[in-house]
Symmetry: C2
Subunit: 528 residues, 2 copies
C-alpha cells in the first residue's frame, strides 16, 4: 500500500492564525481564557527567568545561593546514576528492543512511555509494597502504577483478592442488576456525600459522562478548568493557557473536530477574579477541578478558594464538579472530606477507588439526576435502549463492583487510614529532618498517603511555582536516577510517591536512609 | 443548594435552525451527508410506510399476508408472557426499587438500562453458558453481557481463569513493560494482519485513539461512518442521517462542544456512490466501519463493497479502519479473516477479545506507526511524558494482557472455533427447519458464533431493511418475552444471540424446542 497522498510531511508552522499543522490551528489568541497577566512572582523568586512557554526556564537556580551544587554537576550525576541503574537491566533492554516490532513506541500501554528512560524497565511481578523486574532487581514500590494500586499490589489487598474470587465464582458480565451495586452506591454516598451514582471503566470516562450531563442539564456549551490541569484523555481538558489571552492544546492529536478555542474556558487556580471572568457570560455548564491541584507537583488551595468557587458557580448558574482521581488518598473520605468541602454538584474518581481493578465512578446531586432521568423519558427512542451513551457493556460489571465495594468497606476506612497516615507522616517528618540537617532549601509535603519532595522551600499555590518546585533540569533528573538505582521506585514524571498499607517500618527506614544520602549529595556534603 | 438558575425546564424545540435544546442544534440540514434519496424499496416490501423518522413505521406488516398473526394479537401475547416472566422476579423487583435511591435510572452501568423491561432482572451469577438470577431462576445464557463474555462466563474459559490467577500472583499494575505484552502483540498480528498494536481499556477508547491518530497523520478534520452505525460512546460516531441531506445526533447529551455538522460525514452502507460523495473533497481522515454492519440486525456487505471502499479511500487519501468489536466471533481470525479483507490501515476491537476482562486493542500499519512516533519526537514536551493522550494508567495492565493473550492462544484458535461454529450451524439449521415447517416468511442467519432470526425472508444489505427485519412493534416484543419466560436469555435490544464453547447439545436442543413453539404461535399454528 501507500499509493495515497497522506500529508505525512507537513511540519508544524507558526502562522498569523497561530500555531498550525495541516489545516488545524492548535494555539491561538482567544477570549476563552483570561487576559489578566500571570503572577510569576512566586516562581521567579527561585527561577528568575521562568516562562510558561519554555519548560527549561523553570529550573530553580536560586537554590545554588543556599548551597545546592551547580546544575551542570547535577546533570552529570544524574547521567552517572542513570547509567549505573540501566546497566542492571540487560533483560529489559532485550525485551524492549524486541517489543518495538509489534507495539507503538515499543509499549503496549501509553503510560509505560512516560518513563522516558533509555531502557524501559520490564516487570516480573508486584505484590504488597514490592516490585521485581525481569532482571531480578527488587524494588520498594512507591509509584503503584501512578496511583491505581496505591492500597497495595495483589492479594494482600482484600479488594484485589475479592476481585479474583469474583472472576472465579460469579462471572464478570451478566449485564443485569446485582444486589452488590446498590450496596456499593450507598457506600459511595457515605464516603463522598453525593446521593446518585453510576459506574464507568476509567476516570476519563467518568469525567466525560459528567461533562456530557452538565451540558445537557444546563443547556450551555462550555466547560471551565484551571490552567495546566489533567482530567484524562479528554480533548477539551487537554488544553492550557501558555500565556494570558492564549489557548493551546497540549498536543497535536485531537480526537474531536472542535477548534482549539471551542468548548473550553481556562481560569487560573486560586484566582477568583480569573474564574469570574470565565463564568460571567453564563456560557459555562460546569467547572471541573481537583480538590488539591496535583498535576506537576501540587498547588494547594488558598484559604477560601473552594468556598469562593462554590459561590461564583452558584451566582452564574454553573455546576461544580470535583475530579478526585489523584487526591483520593487524602483521607478515608477523600480530599473533599479532608478539607470539609460540601455542596458540590458532581464528583468523579477512578484508579485507586477500586484498588486498581479497572473501574471508576461518577456521582451527582439528586436535582441533576432527576433532570437526566426526566430528559431521557422525553428524548425518544434513540436516547433509550442500545446506545449506551453513558457507559458500555462492562460498566457495573461484577468484578469491578466487588473491588469497589471492598475498597470502600475494608480499605477506605478510618481503621486502615489512621495507621497508613501515621506511616506517611513518619516519612514526611523524616524528609523534613533531612532538609534541616543539611540546611537544604527544600520542602516535604503530605496529602494523605501521597508524599512529595519539592526543590524550593516555599509552599506552592499556583501551577507556575508548581513547575519550579519539581526541579526539572538537574534536580528532578538526579533525584529520580539516584532513588531508582537504590531500589526505590518513585513516579517517573514528578517527585511524588505513595505509601501503601503493606509497607514495613524497615522499608520506610530504608527510604529515609537513601534520601539522606541523596540530599547530602545535592547539598555538596557528600561525594556523589 | 439550588439557588442557581439552571435551564432545567427548556424543552426541545423545532425551529428554523433545526431541532434545538437551549442554544444547541442537534438536527439540521447539512452537506456533511449525501443528498441522494434513500432506497426504501427493500424495506417497504415488508413495511409499506417505512420512514427513518418514525421507528413504528418499520413493522413488517406484509408478513400477515403469509400467515403471521395480526400485530395486535402479538402485542397481547407479548404483554402476557412479559407478565408471566416478570412474576417470577419478586426479589429483582425489590432490589430494583431499593436501587433507585442511589443509582441513576436505578442501574449502576448504563447497559443495564437497555432491558427496558418493567422489572430489571438481577443476577446472582453466571458460569459457562448459564446464568442464575436472584430469584433462583436458571437461564441458558445467550447474551453474555452483549458480547464480552461470549467465550463463556467464569473459569471454564481459560482466559478468565488466567486473569484471576494473574491478580493473585502478578499484581495488576507495575506500569512497566512486561514480557507478555510483546507476545500478545505478535499474536494480534497473526490473527488480524496489522503489525503495530496498543492496548486500551474499552472499544470506545480504542476507536477514539484511532480517530485521533488518523487526524494527526492525515492533517484532515473529518471522519466518515456509515449511517446508523455504533462505535461506542464517541460523540462523533453517535450521529445519523435520518433523511437525505440531514444530520442528527442520536441524543441530546453531547460530550463535546462541536456542532452537529462538524467533524462527521455519513455515507450509506453498500453504496459506493454515497461514499465517494463523502470523500471527494479530501477532508476525510478515516472511514471507520464494521466488516459486517451489525447495529440493529445485520446488513451484509454486497459483493465488492469492501474492495470498493478500499479503492475509494486510497483514491482520496483516506485511511480505512475496521471496528471488529461486534463481529469478532465470525472466525478465529475475525470477520476480516472470514471475508478475506486485507490492506486496511487500522483495526480496533474490545469486549470479547479479552474474554470479557476489561480491555481493547487498536492496531495500525507500519507507515502510520512510524509517522506517529516521528511526530511525537517533534512535538515537544507536552506531548511526551505524563499526559497519556493514547491511554491511561491501566492500559497494558497485566490482568487484561494475560486475558487477551490466552484468548488469542487458547480460545480464538481453529481448534476451538471449528466445533463452536458447528454448534452455531446446528442451531441456524434448526431455526431454518422450523421456518420451513410452519411456512414462516422469516430468516435465520449465522456470523460465526453469533446467530440471528429475522422477521422477513429477504437477506438484508442496508440498515433500513435492517430495522424492518427486527420486527419492532409486536414480533420483536413477543419473541423476547416468550424466550425469556422460557429461560432463554437472548439480547434485549435485537434478535441476536451467541453460542459459547460451553453450551451443551441438550441446551441447544432446548432452545430449538422453545423456538419451534414460538414460531408456531406466531404463525397461528398453536395457541399462545
Amino acid at each position: 500500500m501507500t499509493d495515497f497522498d497522506r500529508i505525512f510531511e507537513t511540519p508544524s508552522q507558526q502562522t498569523e492564525a497561530g500555531h498550525t499543522r495541516g489545516n488545524r490551528v492548535f494555539r491561538k489568541h482567544s477570549t476563552m481564557v483570561p487576559s489578566k497577566p500571570f503572577d510569576y512572582s512566586s516562581a521567579r523568586k527561585w527561577a528568575p527567568n521562568a516562562d510558561f512557554n519554555d519548560l527549561a526556564s523553570f529550573y530553580p537556580s536560586e537554590g545554588e545561593k543556599q548551597g545546592v551544587i551547580p546544575q551542570a554537576q547535577l546533570l552529570e550525576l544524574s547521567a552517572k546514576y542513570m547509567e549505573l541503574w540501566q546497566a542492571k537491566m540487560p533483560t529489559s533492554k532485550k525485551l524492549q528492543d524486541a517489543g518495538r516490532k509489534n507495539m507503538l513506541f515499543g509499549v503496549f500501554g501509553s503510560y509505560q512511555k512516560d518513563w522516558e528512560t533509555p531502557i524501559l524497565p520490564f516487570a516480573k511481578n508486584c505484590l504488597g509494597g514490592k516490585l521485581w523486574d525481569v532482571d531480578g532487581n527488587e524494588y520498594i514500590d512507591l509509584q503503584f502504577g501512578d496511583t491505581p494500586s496505591m492500597f497495595g499490589h495483589g492479594p494482600e489487598n482484600p479488594a484485589v483478592r475479592a476481585a479474583a474470587e469474583s472472576l472465579m465464582n460469579v462471572g464478570i458480565d451478566p449485564m443485569m442488576g446485582t444486589e452488590e451495586q446498590a450496596v456499593t452506591a450507598k457506600e459511595l454516598e457515605k464516603h463522598f456525600q453525593l446521593p446518585v451514582w453510576m459506574h464507568a471503566l476509567t476516570a476519563t470516562d467518568a469525567n466525560r459522562y459528567l461533562l456530557s450531563i452538565a451540558r445537557c442539564v444546563t443547556g450551555r456549551p462550555n466547560i471551565a478548568i484551571p490552567n495546566f490541569t489533567y482530567h484524562g484523555t479528554i480533548d477539551e481538558t487537554q488544553k492550557m493557557m501558555p500565556e494570558p489571552g492564549v489557548i493551546s492544546r497540549y498536543h497535536e492529536m485531537p480526537q474531536y473536530y472542535g477548534e482549539v478555542d471551542q468548548g473550553t474556558k481556562i481560569f487560573t487556580w486560586n484566582d477568583l477574579e480569573s474564574l469570574e471572568e470565565c463564568l460571567k457570560d453564563k456560557s459555562v455548564a460546569v467547572v471541573m477541578m481537583e480538590p488539591v491541584m496535583s498535576n506537576f507537583g501540587w498547588a494547594w488551595p488558598k484559604e477560601g478558594w473552594h468556598q469562593g468557587v462554590r459561590e461564583l458557580t452558584r451566582k452564574y448558574g454553573t455546576l461544580l464538579c470535583y475530579d478526585e482521581t489523584h487526591t483520593l488518598g487524602h483521607a478515608w473520605n477523600g480530599s473533599v472530606g479532608a478539607q470539609g468541602i460540601t455542596g458540590f454538584d458532581m464528583w468523579a474518581c477512578g484508579k485507586a477507588i477500586s484498588s486498581g481493578i479497572p473501574g471508576a465512578v461518577f456521582g451527582m446531586n439528586r436535582e441533576v439526576a432527576d433532570y437526566v432521568e426526566k430528559w431521557q423519558l422525553q428524548a425518544g427512542f434513540f436516547a433509550g435502549a442500545g446506545l449506551g451513551f453513558l457507559g458500555n457493556a462492562l460498566t457495573g460489571n461484577t468484578m469491578s463492583t466487588t473491588a469497589l465495594r471492598v475498597t470502600m468497606q475494608e480499605v477506605m476506612t478510618p481503621e486502615v487510614f489512621d495507621p497508613l497516615l501515621a506511616k506517611a507522616a513518619f516519612v514526611r517528618d523524616g524528609m523534613e529532618a533531612v532538609f534541616v540537617k543539611y540546611s537544604a532549601p527544600f520542602r516535604a509535603e503530605m496529602m494523605g498517603n501521597r508524599l512529595c519532595f519539592h526543590f524550593i522551600s516555599d509552599k506552592c499555590h499556583d501551577p507556575l511555582t508548581g513547575i519550579t518546585q519539581i526541579g526539572f533540569g538537574g534536580l528532578f533528573e538526579f533525584a529520580h536516577a539516584y532513588l531508582w538505582h537504590h531500589g526505590l521506585l518513585i513516579m517517573p514524571f514528578f517527585n511524588m510517591f505513595l505509601i501503601c498499607p503493606q509497607h514495613t517500618q524497615e522499608e520506610l527506614n530504608r527510604f529515609l536512609e537513601v534520601f539522606d544520602d541523596m540530599i547530602a549529595i545535592i547539598m555538596g556534603k557528600k561525594e556523589g
